[in-house]
Amino acid sequence: MTDKAYTPSDDLLHAYVDGALDAAQAREVEARLAQHPQDAARVRAWQAQNAALRGLGAALGAEAPPERLRRAAAAPAAPRGPRLDWRGTRVTRRGLLRAAAAVALLLLGGLGGWAARGLAPAPVFVAQAVAAHRLFTRQALHPVEVRAGEREHLQKWLSSPNGIGAAMQVPALDGLGLALVGGRLLASEKGPAALYMYEQTPTQRVTLYVSRLADQRRRPGWTWSQEDGLRVCDWTQGNLRLALVGALDYEALEKLAQAIDGQMRAAQSAAALPPAPASAAAAAGTGIAAGTAIAAGTALAAGTAAPAPPSVSAVALGLSPRR
């Protein structure tokens, strides 16, 4: 059957199906259909499609629209509907810009080395992080490949040459109310990427998307962006590029990003200390690729070795990086 090929004479058949013909034209078409059973069969199928599409429309349209959409329809000045915000404050678009500006000022003023670039358009890296976030955070059964219970294995695997090929401790965010769910390895345009997932509850999840910096000379600064209620913080640390994604306000996201960044710096500077005590290195270095952030220090070593509850100390360490 090569009927799929379109010829302008089909227009009349479509117009017939869609009731766009006057009575005389419709009669002409019906005469043609009586003589061409194949055309008649197509027309019947298309009519059935229309009926089914209307049924689908009725089914999809039957549900009452949510409050945020009713408000958006009813008035121009209505504040932007409440986006997902774990702390329950309503976030408006103007408020977001103010918050972003505040963050930018804070960063420029207070923290040396943190260059906020405002709300830049999302680069591919961020788009991939957001796509991964959306896909995996809604999985109830298989959100991750390796669960938090195997934290040490997760860390070894993702850091290995078969992983992202760069050493990274699994950040600990328990002190900020987020438990590790686990992680997985992903493919991206620019090579492998690691995805770590954290959650407060299964519907409140944050992901950290990490890959090796493609070009060491191009190091994008901290950028903040948002999409469909998700907000993203994107930055680089060492030879890694990171994107933290969650349905959080910028303030909360920033706190988490700072904690992660701080832990990474701490691990790096600890690793850079020339002669680490042999025993500590041996204890912490179990199976981590050589030359890596072995000495993640006692806090992170404790985090991996002890299945114990969240070490607030890890976060405290993260927030005040040793230099």
């Binding site: 089914a52 599409l53 049924g55 429309g57 329809a73 358009p121 896909l135 999409e227």
Partner: protein, 169 residues
């Protein structure tokens, strides 16, 4: 402007169902509709009184969606009806939902260009001229996309009801 508010509320269920059928993912569909409504309010001076508000809203919706899709090319464009998020409990289903599910899935396998035209014509019952305006393409393009969409869908649905599947020549 109360009149406009009333009309927008009237149009809301159709915008929603169209967005839903177009992108699949309910949350994302609602986000697109919300952006559309906000943009419509902020540009209401561009609306010509007396013209069809619904077609105007579909135009805005389409632009919002196209912009979002351009920015996030890697996101799956269409999520089957069966995917649900933990936050979004499954709604009770009607008896004929299975068929609708098949249809929705088959729609997801059309190209987006074709899906748009088919939904605007078949589900929303816009006139061909209006569809051309909404999508910003010539009417001939609308007709050829409509044709291809209907024929693809006919094949898809036939394949589902008949076994074994026909191999393409």
């Amino acid at each position: 402007m109360d009149d406009l508010a009333w009309q927008m509320e009237q149009a809301l269920p159709r915008l929603r169902r169209y967005a839903r059928a177009l992108v699949g993912d309910p949350t994302r569909a609602d986000d697109i509709v919300q952006d559309c409504l906000e943009r419509a309010w902020s540009r209401r001076h561009l609306f010509r009184p007396g013209s069809d508000l619904r077609a105007w809203l579909f135009t805005i919706l389409h632009n919002v969606h196209a912009n979002a899709a351009r920015r996030y090319t890697t996101r799956p464009a269409h999520v089957p009806l069966t995917e649900t998020t933990p936050a979004e409990p499954v709604r009770p289903r009607q008896a004929d939902d299975l068929e609708l599910g098949d249809l929705h899935e088959a729609l997801g396998r059309l190209s987006e260009d074709q899906r748009q035209v088919l939904l605007l014509v078949g589900m929303e019952q816009l006139q061909y001229r209006e569809v051309a305006d909404v999508l910003g393409v010539p009417i001939g393009t609308v007709m050829s996309r409509l044709h291809r969409a209907r024929e693809h869908l006919r094949e898809e649905l036939a394949r589902e009801s008949e076994t074994p599947p026909r191999r393409p020549k």
